[in-house]
């Protein structure tokens, strides 16, 4: 294999050991495990359960929107549904999904380490995540929440729903995110195998690292914002509530100072997955390795300077609006560098149209639409028209769902054999991908149009002229739901009936493929060593290079 002199690490040279699943058994072996692989699997289960919860809320509100009148649910229930959908999907699904599940499982493997730097802290992160999830569940049964996932004041200080419980849940989840980020930063700095220099890190690692930097710099600000909101609601100290002399726009500044970088906490890990998927499944050295790696860092930095573009119509100064608009355009540059590099990687590659690659291609299509429509919203004058319309809804779903979630599902397929030791059925996978792709685009593409025509977001009712497009969206969402359920079905079934996965089913060159599938408890036999970067694929590399060996 091209990556490493793994003579001491290669599974083949040793008698096969039992996998980390078989090494220990029983409930306790999971609940108090320090093994990053088990924690990764538990995050995967946790995020998927809440993906279902958020998805059910979404399908219910899409069903309400089949007709212009209010029929299925009351307006209040509708408000609670979109709030729960948003809050659950952001705080319990997308933010922890890729770092929590794939990051935990893969990061130490990709670094050739036995574990993350602080395994006990890692377990603590997971339990803090679970505690935050419990608070969200308490919110659901205790009056729910109707403020929208952004908890905007002054409504959130007066709403009769369980704002404090929900906010406290998000506050707790923030600490899980911070501790995971901290752990990953130290792991990347300190736990790399001999020879694994920064320029030889898989791009997934670069992406997780950049994400971790944002997590530790932005999330504390969310913590203090939510703490102030809780204090404002319980004591009325007069910081955000205008009736008490506070400033509601200050809340928005605070909130978006976290929540815009948080958008990149959500999408950067997705970028990392796509880099791996495209390189491995087109059998070609990634184009512009350093550009992709450093553009992640550039995005991490610029992401802190653009929060004001959420507030163009909130009464910030015109000058601030112009500056934020310009900086927003600037984020497009490193993002475009990535997209062009991926496309250039595909060029003359030996492309395998298997399920992971299909998801990667779907990502290129949907994320690019999501990114480009962000430019519309970043332009001051256009945003005044599009603000708080379905155009915004479509835009961020193209980025969050069409970007992160599509990449996440692609990543799950790519590493499914490594994680579970079983291969899913390829044909089933392709059908699932097709359903998800068609359903997703059918749901959201016409929302750009309906939004541009003036349909505001967050309403249970609408004027009859929009019905046709809403019906189309709702049918699309059913297809999307069906595709996702189908995907869950065949993946779970593969655990029983799937073919045994080989150690390296896609002939990847990074270190996680150099150990057994599923990996042994201590990851590698002996200490892996690395002497080249992880994109030097043997034999069919047509990028002008010769076989490395």
């Amino acid at each position: 294999m091209a990556t490493a002199d793994t003579s001491s690490a290669h599974g083949g040279d040793h008698a096969r050991e039992v996998s980390f699943y078989a090494a220990k058994t029983g409930l306790k072996s999971w609940l108090v495990t320090l093994d990053h692989k088990r924690l990764g699997m538990m995050y995967l289960v946790g995020t998927m359960v809440f993906f279902l919860v958020g998805g059910i809320a979404a399908l219910t509100l899409r069903t309400e929107l089949l007709t212009p009148e209010q029929d299925l649910v009351s307006a209040t229930t509708y408000n609670k549904l979109f709030t729960i959908h948003g809050a659950v999907m952001v705080f319990l699904v997308i933010i922890p999904s890729v770092p929590g599940a794939l990051g935990n499982f893969l990061l130490p493997l990709m670094l050739g380490a036995k574990d993350v730097a602080f395994p006990r802290l890692n377990l603590l992160s997971f339990w803090i995540y679970s505690l935050g999830a419990v608070f969200f569940l308490i919110t659901l049964v205790n009056g729910s929440l109707d403020t929208g996932w952004t908890f905007y004041t002054p409504y959130s200080t007066s709403s009769g729903t369980a704002v404090v419980t929900a906010t406290f849940g998000a506050f707790i989840l923030g600490f899980s995110s911070i501790l995971t980020g901290l752990n990953f930063i130290v792991t990347v700095h300190k736990m790399r195998a001999p020879g694994l220099t920064w320029n030889r890190l898989p791009l997934f690692v670069w992406a997780i690292y950049s994400t971790a930097v944002i997590q530790i710099l932005a999330t504390p600000v969310l913590a203090i914002t939510l703490m102030l909101l809780m204090i404002e609601r319980t004591l009325n100290i007069g910081i955000f509530d205008p009736a008490m002399g506070g400033d509601p726009v200050l809340y928005q500044h605070f909130f978006w100072f976290y929540s815009h970088p948080a958008v990149y906490i959500m999408i950067l890990p997705g970028f990392g997955i796509i880099s791996e998927l495209i390189a491995v499944h087109s059998r070609k050295h990634i184009f512009g390795y350093k550009a992709i790696a450093l553009s992640s860092i550039a995005i991490a930095i610029i992401s802190f300077l653009v929060w004001g573009h959420h507030m163009f119509v909130s009464g910030q100064s015109e000058l601030a609006g112009v500056v934020f608009s310009f900086l927003t355009f600037a984020v497009a540059v490193p993002t475009a560098i990535k997209v062009f590099s991926w496309v250039a990687t595909l060029y003359k590659g030996s492309i395998e149209f298997n399920t992971p690659m299909l998801y990667a291609l779907a990502f290129l299509f949907t994320f690019t639409i999501g990114g480009l429509t962000g430019i519309f919203l970043g332009a001051l004058s256009v945003d005044v028209h599009l603000h708080d319309t379905y155009f915004v809804v479509a835009h961020f779903h193209y980025v969050m769902m069409g970007g992160t979630i599509i990449a996440f599902i692609g990543g799950i397929h790519h590493w499914w054999g490594k994680m579970t030791g079983r291969m899913f059925n390829e044909a089933h996978g392709r059908w699932g991908c097709l359903l998800v792709f068609i359903g997703f685009n059918m749901t959201f593409f016409n929302q750009f149009i309906v939004g541009q025509q003036g349909m505001p977001r967050r309403y249970a009712t609408y004027v009859p002229q929009f019905q046709q497009q809403h019906v189309l969206s709702t049918i699309g969402s059913y297809i999307l739901g069906l595709g996702l359920l189908w995907t869950a079905f065949y993946l779970l079934r593969s655990l029983k009936t799937g073919a045994q996965a080989s150690d390296n089913p896609y002939a990847g060159a990074s270190l996680e493929w150099q150990t057994q599938s599923p990996p042994i408890e201590h990851n590698f036999h002996g200490q892996p060593r690395v002497d080249t970067d992880p994109y030097n694929f043997p034999q069919i590399d047509r990028s002008g290079g010769m076989d490395h060996h």
């Binding site: 380490a113 036995k114 574990d115 730097a117 602080f118 395994p119 802290l121 911070i178 901290l182 752990n183 930063i185 130290v186 700095h189 300190k190 736990m191 530790i216 710099l217 932005a218 999330t219 504390p220 600000v221 913590a223 203090i224 914002t225 703490m227 102030l228 204090i231 404002e232 004591l235 009325n236 100290i237 007069g238 910081i239 008490m244 002399g245 506070g246 400033d247 200050l250 605070f254 200490q527």
Partner: protein
């Protein structure tokens, strides 16, 4: 702690964790992790400092009038106490580095003592405020607070509940950090008594020390901003 380049790795100590390759790697990870954690602490408090400055810009006279009700003496005493505790904390780390276990314990006891004095002073400050109707937010009793201010020759203007809201929030969060500090200081003191620390292994002492210094540092900013506005 650093062994010269080219020498072999240090012999593993009793607290070496086996997912690390070397003792140096473990110590380096612990230290980097702590610094990253301190960065998150600074960002969390900086949100509160920002809120404070916004309030001060929005209502300068109100902040000026309200701050006169805070006791500069108690705040000043607490500042001196915390500064001294940072010194004893640094001495405790030094004692650990040279393997002087009685020194670690002695210095940690002094640090914990200072932390407790700080909390006691804070308790009297808070109860002294509450006694005159100075509560955070909507519980603020304007009539009693204004009468108390007039007794001391000061005048309340505008909406002083906002100043005291941010005062109680900032000092309260800082107080929580001091309380957590006492907890971890006691923890490493008990470990020191068992003889866990020496030149080979003193990361916990060093990291608790770093935490304690940041708690001190936050107070160094809180004191002038809240007590010494004029």
């Amino acid at each position: 702690m650093s062994s010269a380049h080219g020498q072999g790795p240090k012999a593993p100590h009793a607290f070496f964790q086996h997912h690390y390759n070397t003792v140096e790697q473990q110590a380096g990870a612990a230290k980097l992790g702590m610094w990253v954690f301190l960065a998150t602490e600074i960002l969390m408090f900086s949100g509160l400092f920002l809120a404070y400055f916004i309030i001060r810009i929005l209502y300068p006279e109100m902040v000026l009038g309200s701050h006169e009700l805070l006791s500069k003496t108690m705040g000043g005493v607490n500042t001196v106490v915390l500064l001294f505790s940072s010194f004893t904390m640094a001495m405790a780390v030094r004692s650990a580095q040279v393997g002087d276990t009685p020194g670690i314990i002695r210095n940690l006891i002094m640090t914990i003592g200072c932390a407790c004095i700080f909390m006691v002073v804070k308790y009297f400050e808070y109860t002294g405020k509450f006694a005159h109707g100075i509560f955070p937010g909507k519980y603020f009793d304007y009539g009693r607070a204004a009468a108390y201010a007039a007794e001391h020759g000061h005048e309340l203007v505008g909406m002083p509940h906002i100043f005291f809201g941010i005062y109680f929030t900032m000092t309260g969060l800082h107080g929580v950090h001091v309380a957590v500090g006492i907890g971890v200081l006691v923890w490493i003191m008990l470990r020191a008594k068992k003889g866990h620390f020496g030149p080979q292994y003193y990361s916990p002492v060093e990291n608790v020390g770093l935490y304690w210094h940041i708690v001190d540092l936050v107070w160094i900013f809180l004191f002038p901003l809240l007590y010494l506005v004029k």
